[in-house]
Each structure stands twice: as structure tokens, then as C-alpha cells.
Symmetry: C2
């Protein structure tokens, strides 16, 4: 099974990336520092778009860099691209093939912006269109549902953030992610058993906030692609501005809520969902208070700094999606209606 082995090899992949690509990342960071950049403008689809959501929070919080998610149709169908003065234009794509993402980088280059491609294919059209290329080196990903290319994308995004700031202690923290991933993957048997509970689940919501807003989106995408469950992701704040009305007694709510700055607000919401609305909670966390509210708790290591938790908190979610796909009798390698490389304009 490619999917299971691709999930399992993530600790090695991100460690090897850290070992071999640090210099390349530092060179790119230095080149970016020399330019007058006010914001990042990022184009991506699917899983890579979720990696972009991590960049949105990480680069914003740690590097003071605001991030706009591109609207590729303005570059393709409308042919009315915005002015990209002072932008760092970033494209993220596993295959580097999707024409809409390539268009955004080509336009950025045409307008004289700094362009960066993050891809698993350094010989792709996306890489050719960019001034700088970060190769995520995930190796061939055979399963249609992306797993290791997501976490390697997160890793280069984090490495670039650290390189832009130049803090040595942060590099040390990055060096521990592989170990934290291995610890987390040890819950595989427990997650396989827990997946049985969701055999007949048709719909759910997935909540996260701050750095783990990205995790909520990627978790939901894995559930949709693999298990065909209608899983809708939300920031816990947006969720309270309307969609919470949908939740009734027993409705499944999945939450990623590690310790950190947004934890207290997530805990308040979980308590309301569990105690007032009587929803069902599945929680990924490293905080006892959150885990004890859940019917089904999955843990990540306690000692992780919040900004790196997205690299690890997605692993139980990937395993859950994998085992639930098997429990439902669906194909883990090639879901219906989608292919590995989707080319949209």
C-alpha cells in the first residue's frame, strides 16, 4: 500500500530535507531580504493550498510578512491580473504542472516581482517559471491523496521562515520534528481501532485556529478525498459566526487544538460543543484538558512549540483517513473521480 508507506516515511523525509536543503533555503532568504517586499502572493491548489495556509500564519507571525492567496482565474480566464509590485510571488505544487499556478508565477516574473516555486519536481513548468526553486525532495508519491508532500511543503515553509529570521534555536527545534513525528505515528494501532467508530459517518466538521487552521483544512481534505465523508473545515472563530447552527446532538466535530496561544479559546468552544450542544468530539492535542473532553483523543508530544505542531498534528488525521477508508471498503490508493495530477486553468 503506497498510502500507508508514504505516511510512515514522513519522519525520514523531513529530516533528510532539513539535512540537505538548509543552505539552499538560506541563500533564498538572503536574496529575498535584499528586495523591497511588502507581502507574499501565493498560488496553490488542494493540499498545496493548505500548506499555503500554514505559510500565511507562520510568515505573518514570525516574519511580519502578510500573505495574499492568489485568485488564479484572474490570471487565466479573466486575463486581468492584479499589480504585483512589492510582492514575493510563491507557487506551491507537488507536480509543478497545473497551468493556473504556473500562470501566476509567469505573470509575477513579467511584472518584475521575486518568484519562488516550492515543488517536488524541480524540472517542472512551475520551477522553470520561477527565480528560485525549493525542491521538497519527497520522492515519488504514488497514492493519489497527498501526505508526505504536504509535510515536506510545511517543512520548507518553516525552514524559509527560520532562515529569514536567522535564529539558531529555531533550527534546533526543526531538528526535533522527525522524532516527534515518530512518537506520534506509534498510535497507529489505536487509530485503526478508533476508525471503526466512524464507519457510517457521512458528514462532520473539522476545527482549528492559528497555525493549525491549515491542519483543519488538510484533515478535512483527506477525509473527503479518501473516505467520501463531507468534512468541512473552519477556523473556530468563523465557525461561531453561523455554521455552528448546523451542529446537533451527536454530530461529529473533529478538533486540532495543541497547547499555545489560541488554546484557551479552542477549549471554551470544545466545552460548549460537548456540554451544551452534546456534540461528539474527536480531538488531536497535547493538552489533557482538551483530550479529556473528547470521546476519541489522539495525542502529539507535549514539548512541541506551537508553531511546529502542524507538521505533527496532521499525522493522526492522515492515519484516521487511511484506516477509515479501509473500514468503509474504499480504495486507499486511487479515489474515484480524481487523478494524481489535476490540471486546472
Amino acid at each position: 500500500m503506497s498510502l500507508f508507506s508514504e505516511i510512515s516515511e514522513q519522519p525520514e523525509r523531513i529530516q533528510s530535507l532539513l539535512n540537505t536543503q538548509r543552505k539552499a533555503v538560506e541563500q533564498i532568504a538572503a536574496a529575498i531580504r535584499g528586495r523591497d517586499i511588502s507581502y507574499a502572493f501565493l498560488a496553490a491548489r488542494g493540499t498545496s493550498d493548505n500548506a499555503g495556509r500554514y505559510a500565511n500564519y507562520l510568515w505573518g507571525a514570525r516574519n511580519g510578512l502578510p500573505l495574499a492567496l492568489a485568485t488564479p482565474s484572474l490570471f487565466t480566464y479573466y486575463n486581468q491580473p492584479p499589480k504585483l509590485k512589492n510582492a514575493l510571488v510563491v507557487g506551491i505544487s507537488q507536480s509543478g504542472q497545473s497551468p493556473d499556478i504556473v500562470s501566476v508565477l509567469e505573470e509575477g516574473r513579467k511584472q518584475g516581482s521575486v518568484t519562488l516555486a516550492i515543488t517536488n519536481e524541480p524540472n517542472s513548468p512551475l520551477a522553470s517559471a520561477a527565480d528560485f526553486v525549493l525542491d521538497i525532495q519527497a520522492g515519488p508519491e504514488k497514492a493519489v491523496a497527498a501526505t508526505k508532500t504536504y509535510t515536506t511543503e510545511l517543512m520548507v515553509i518553516a525552514m524559509l521562515s527560520v532562515a529569514m529570521n536567522g535564529d539558531r534555536n529555531d533550527w534546533k527545534d526543526l531538528g526535533q520534528v522527525s522524532k516527534w513525528m515518530k512518537q506520534t505515528l506509534k498510535q497507529n494501532d489505536l487509530i485503526e481501532q478508533a476508525a471503526q467508530r466512524y464507519r457510517y459517518m457521512r458528514q462532520c466538521v473539522v476545527l482549528g485556529r492559528g497555525f493549525n487552521y491549515a491542519t483543519a483544512f488538510e484533515w478535512a481534505l483527506k477525509l473527503k478525498e479518501l473516505t467520501y465523508v463531507e468534512a468541512e473545515p473552519y477556523s473556530s472563530a468563523d465557525f461561531q459566526h453561523g455554521p455552528i447552527a448546523m451542529v446537533e446532538r451527536g454530530f461529529p466535530v473533529m478538533v486540532v487544538a495543541p497547547q499555545g496561544k489560541v488554546f484557551a479559546s479552542m477549549l471554551d468552544l470544545m466545552a460548549r460543543l460537548r456540554k451544551d450542544i452534546l456534540a461528539e468530539l474527536l480531538v488531536i492535542s497535547n493538552a489533557k484538558k482538551a483530550l479529556s473532553l473528547a470521546q476519541v483523543p489522539f495525542t502529539i508530544p507535549v514539548e512541541m512549540p506551537e508553531w511546529l505542531t502542524p507538521l505533527v498534528s496532521i499525522l493522526p488525521a492522515q492515519l484516521l483517513a487511511y484506516h477509515l477508508t479501509r473500514a468503509k471498503g474504499f480504495n486507499t490508493e486511487a479515489p474515484r473521480s480524481i487523478r494524481k495530477v489535476t490540471e486546472t486553468k
Copy 2:
């Protein structure tokens, strides 16, 4: 019923806005033109965030202004706001009360950016925090689910776009929106009947692209808030990068696809959904080819320019949500678990 009367009064509200606020909008546009602005940075929640999605496409396509959606938690919980040099900082909120949105404007002002509040409450904390205020003048909105404040927000966003470009013909087009809205609302009886078909629907997806990406999000939000259906919105491109796997025979897909630049791509996808996957389609369009693919078609006027269709295409969606709420026996005025003013940090 406040909700029904608020839906019905939209043609008058947007016309009165156009008649009374043009000068204020032109003054703001002139002030913005004098500043060195590279991009807009926009904070909003819920329905107002969907209005922000319209600004993202409209200002990008017609004014060359890229737009970043703010990540309010960086301003509140993390206290690590990004640098907003060269940004036009915009906050949209019906009530002007939500502390997270106010925080973004306060930070923008602190950093010396140009700040703009779009609100129904010109005496609110949001308005106080801004250099410029656009009053949407929707009158009191009593129903918890926002309708007329959405279209009036769209209208001031469109007016500001036109004022920034200064094209007289565009003002003429804006002057016709009220008439197009009235024509569209005449389908009320037909929509009431059609709503019966969805009495037992539990989940669906809602697709749109380009200018009507916003419509897909707002349509889905009304279904979730009012009918408790798990309705998930997508760009038709993102949908094909994974979530389409969820759709099986008979699965309800709602599509907003007026004539325009993205229409051909939407039509391809609709044909695939209907003919290959055998999904069920509800379509809002002014193109026969699209309407004839649908089990349930709702129309908008043929002569509308694409960039203004979001102001009108949301009306059948609002009516559908209203009548389906009644068909399901739920409360159209005050949905469970949410209040009119949600204050998140």
C-alpha cells in the same frame, strides 16, 4: 417575518445607497489614490467575509489591487501582527462590534496604513478605528441570517471599484442592479415550490468561480445557518483537486454560473457532474446551456455584465434557504446556537 421582508427590500436598499453615497465613495477613492498602496488587507467574518471575497476578485480584476484576507488571530491571541506597509486595511462588519476585526483596523492605523470601515453602524467601534467609513445604510436587520447587509456590502465594494476607475458607463450599470434584482425576485413562488424537493437533503456542495466565488460561499452559509444542511462551498477548480471524489449518483450540487469569462469551464464541470457522475444539479444562471443541464434551474437577467452578477445571483439562493427553512419547520428568524452579533477575538 423579518427575513422575508429583508430579502424583499434589497432592490430599494441598494438603489438608495447608490443615490446617496456616491459622493462619499468618490471622496474616499480620491484619498486612496493619493497614497502609495500595493495591496488591500481585509478583515471580516461570516457574511461580511463573503463580501470580502467579492472585493478580492473585483478589485483585483478591475483595479489591479491584490487583496490579502487578514488572519485576525495574529492580531489578538498571538499579538504578532504582520507589517502593513503599503496596505489599504479594510474591515467589514454589519455591527462593527467584533473585537478581532476592530483589532486589525487599530493595528493598521497604529502602523500608519490607510484604514477603511464598511459597516451598517457608523457609530460602532469599527468605524471609530478607521480613517474612512462607508455606511451601507441597510437599515435595522432583525433576522439573524444576514441578507440585505450582504448585498449592500457588495454594492459599496462595487461603487468603490467604479470610483477608483472613474468610468461613467460603470455607474450606469450600477444604476440597473435594482431593476435586475426586482426581476429576479419574481421567481419567489417557483422557488418556494422547488424548495420542497430538498426537504430531506442533509448535505450538498455549492460551486462558483471568479466573481461568483463569493456567491457560492454566501449561498452555502445561508443553507448552513438556516436549514442546518451541511453545504460546502468551493471554487470549481479547487473542487476538482480532491473534493469531487465525494460526489456520487444523486448527490446534490448547487452551481452559480452566469455568462462570462469562467462560464465555459463551469459548463464543462456541470456536464461532467450531470452526465458522467449522475449528480443532481440546481443551477442559478442566465445561460440556457447551463439551465438546461439542471433538474432545478433559477434564472437571473440575461443582459447583466458578469462583474455585477453576484449582487443578483445571491437572491434566488436566499429565497431557497428561506423557503427550505420553512419546509423543514425551522425558525427563519433566529437559528439555534447563533446570535445576530457574534463577538470573537
